[in-house]
Symmetry: C2
Subunit: 373 residues, 2 copies
C-alpha cells in the first residue's frame, strides 16, 4: 500500500471513499461507534465506544479525513497533536455551527438569507419582528435531514417553537427564502491549491431527505460560474484540502447559500459514473497529496436514493444503463440504503426511466414529477 487514510465515520460515504482509494493502493481505516458499519468490508474499524479506540485509530493511518460532519472537534484536537486532518479543523468547526457558517458566508460576500441569533424567547420575538414571517428556526449545532428545525409561519407558533427548540440554548432564525429550486455545488481543492468543481446538481427532496439529483442542473449555465466562484472563495479562505459541498437556493435574486458540508455529499454520488473523476476519488487524491482528476461530466446523470426499503436488485439492473450502489445497511424508515445512477441518452429516456423506477421502488420518492435534462 502507498499510504493509509484514517476516516472519521464508517458509513456509506466512507465505504465509497475506500472503494475509490483501493485502485490507488491506498488503504482506509475508520472510526465509528458500530464496528459492523457499511465501510467495514474495506478496512479496520476502530470503535469510538471503547476507551482506546481513538488512540488506536490515530495509530492506524498516515493521514486523516472524515465522512461524518459531526465529527467531534475534541477528537480532532487529539488527532492533530501528532497527525494531519484534511479538511482543516476550522472548516469543520465552522460548518458545525450555523452562526459561524453564516458569518463566514457574510465575510466572503456569499449571499445568505437574513438571519438572527436566538438564545431566548425575547430574542426569538425580536427576530420575528426583524425578519418577518415565515422563518426557519434551527439549532446552531446538530440536526440534519430536516431534524432540529421548526418552520414558523405565524406568531402564535412562537411559544411552541421555543418550547421545542429552546432547550438547545443556541438557535438561529433564518428568513424563509423564496426559492424555485435547490442546487448544490461540489468542489475539491488539492494540497497544491488546485481547485476543481463539478457541475451543479439540482436536488429534490422527499420528507426532508434527498430523493434525487439531476446533473448538470437544468438551465444552470448562468448559475455554474457564480456557484463556482462562491465555493472557490470558501476553499481558498479556509486553506481547504479535500471535497467541500455548498448547498444553494435558486431565487429571483440569484443564488443564496444554504449550508456547507465539509465532505463528499449525497448530491455528488452521480459522479462515480457521470464524471471523469468522482468526488470520492478526488477527495482521496487530495487527502493523499496526489494531483486531482478531471471533474468533467461524461454524460448527464440522475442519482436516485434508495430510502427505507430495498427494491429488488434485478428490477433496478434491468433498467437501461442503471447502476446500483448498495451500502449493506438494514432497512429502517427514512434510512439511506443505497442509490441508483441513471445515465439516459436524452430527456425522453429520462422521463421513461424515472417512471419505471417509481414503480420499482418500494418507498415512493419525488419521482412522479416530470423530469427534464
Amino acid at each position: 500500500m502507498n499510504k493509509t487514510i484514517g476516516i472519521f465515520g464508517g458509513g456509506q460515504l466512507g465505504r465509497m471513499m475506500a472503494q475509490a482509494a483501493l485502485p490507488l493502493n491506498i488503504q482506509c481505516s475508520f472510526f465509528e461507534a458500530e464496528t459492523e458499519c457499511p465501510a467495514a468490508i474495506l478496512g479496520p474499524v476502530f470503535s469510538s465506544k471503547t476507551e482506546q479506540g481513538l488512540q488506536d485509530f490515530i495509530a492506524s493511518a498516515d493521514v486523516f479525513s472524515l465522512e461524518f460532519e459531526n465529527t467531534p472537534v475534541a477528537d480532532v484536537d487529539v488527532l492533530t497533536q501528532t497527525k494531519t486532518l484534511h479538511p482543516p479543523r476550522l472548516a469543520l468547526a465552522t460548518a458545525q455551527n450555523r452562526l459561524a457558517e453564516k458569518s463566514l458566508f457574510d465575510e466572503l460576500n456569499i449571499p445568505v438569507a437574513p438571519y438572527r441569533a436566538v438564545d431566548s424567547l425575547d430574542s426569538l420575538k425580536q427576530a420575528v419582528a426583524d425578519l418577518g414571517l415565515p422563518i426557519v428556526l434551527k439549532t446552531v449545532t446538530g440536526g440534519y435531514d430536516g431534524k432540529g428545525q421548526f418552520v414558523l409561519r405565524s406568531e402564535d407558533q412562537i411559544d411552541t417553537a421555543w418550547a421545542e427548540l429552546g432547550p438547545a440554548k443556541s438557535l438561529i432564525a433564518e428568513s424563509f427564502v423564496k426559492f424555485s429550486r435547490e442546487v448544490s455545488i461540489i468542489a475539491v481543492r488539492g494540497q497544491d491549491g488546485d481547485v476543481k468543481t463539478w457541475a451543479l446538481a439540482e436536488n429534490h427532496h422527499h420528507n426532508g431527505i434527498l430523493s434525487h439529483s439531476i446533473v448538470p442542473a437544468p438551465n444552470s449555465t448562468d448559475l455554474q460560474p457564480v456557484a463556482q466562484d462562491y465555493i472557490t472563495r470558501l476553499l481558498n479562505h479556509l486553506n481547504y484540502v479535500g471535497v467541500l459541498t455548498l448547498e444553494l437556493f435558486v431565487t429571483e435574486q440569484g443564488l443564496y447559500a444554504n449550508e456547507m458540508a465539509c465532505r463528499v455529499h449525497n448530491s455528488g454520488h452521480w459522479s462515480i459514473e457521470g464524471a471523469i473523476c468522482s468526488q470520492f476519488e478526488n477527495h482521496i487524491r487530495a487527502v493523499a497529496g496526489l494531483p486531482l482528476g478531471s471533474t468533467d461530466v461524461v454524460r448527464p446523470t440522475v442519482m436516485i436514493n434508495i430510502i427505507g426499503q430495498h427494491p429488488k436488485s434485478e428490477d433496478v439492473l434491468a433498467l437501461q444503463g442503471a447502476h446500483l450502489h448498495l451500502y449493506n445497511k438494514s432497512e429502517r424508515t427514512g434510512r439511506k440504503l443505497g442509490h441508483i445512477t441513471l445515465m439516459p441518452n436524452n430527456s425522453d429516456d429520462l422521463t421513461g426511466l424515472c417512471r419505471q423506477l417509481a414503480q420499482i421502488l418500494p418507498v415512493p420518492l419525488a419521482l412522479t414529477a416530470d423530469m427534464s435534462l
Copy 2:
C-alpha cells in the same frame, strides 16, 4: 449481503471482480495458493496449499466462478458435486486444451490457422511437411504470455524444438498466421441466455505480454459483427454464463481465432471507465443471475499495463483524464502490477498522452509507435 460468490484465483482479476461486486452487496471469497494476494483486501482467501482449503472455500459461497484460467478441473469436479460453477466445466476444460479448443472452433466454423496434433518427433516432422514453415509449436496444456511456445522457422530447428517442448508429450503445431494486428472480443452471457458484447480491442504486446489495448479497435467497423458472431456461437454452444474472451488475428483473409479465455481479460480492463457496464460488473451480474448491463462504449479508451516496476502515482494521475488501477503486487520483471486507463478527447490528445506516459513508465512498452483512434 445478497449473495456470496466464490472465485477460483485471487489475483488482480479477482480483485477487480470483487470491487465490482461490492456495490451490488455481493461479497466474494477466493481460492488461491498465497493468502496474501491482490484480492485479499476484499474477502476471505482459502489457501489451495492446505488440506481443508478447497472444502472451506466450497462452504464459503453460494455460487462460484473463476479468474484463473488454469483452475484444476479436478477441483471443479469436487465443487460441482454440491455447488454451481459459472462458466461451465466444459468451457474451462476446452480452453485448457489447445487441441480441444481448435476442434471446437472448427466445429463452429470459426476460422483458425491450419494445425496438427504433435506427439512425437515424427509427427512434428509430418506437421512441418503438411503445414510448411514457419509454424508455432505449443504445448497442448499450460503455458501463457508466450511461455511453452517455440517458433519454428527452418527445418534445422526441428530437433531443438522437440528437445524443448517434446517432454510435454502433447503438442500442437500451428501455421504461422500472417496477421496485420491482434484484436480481442469480449462478451458476456447471462443465465437467461442474453448475450452482450463489448467493442473490439486492438492489442499490442511487448516481450510477449500485453502492453496496451485501444478500444474501439481502429478501423474495426467491418470486423465487429464478425467477431460478435463468432463469440456468440461459442457462448451459446457452451451454454456459457459469465464473461468469455476470444483473441483474434486480423489477416487479409479475415479474422482468425487464436484462443479463448473463459474469464475476464486484460484487454477488457478499459471497460471499467470506458463502457457503461464493465466486464467485471457484467461477469458478477451473470454469475449472480442478475440482468446484464449495457456494454456500450462511453468514450474511446486506451488501457496501458504497468509491468515490472511502478511509475510514480503522482506522475500518472497528473495526466489529463488518467485513471490508475494498482493491484497491490510487489515488483518483479514481467509482472503485471497495474494498469492505466486514458480517455482522450481525440486522436491528437492520445498521441500526446502516450508520449508523456512513455516517459513516466519505468519499463518502456510498445508505446513509442504512433497511436491513432
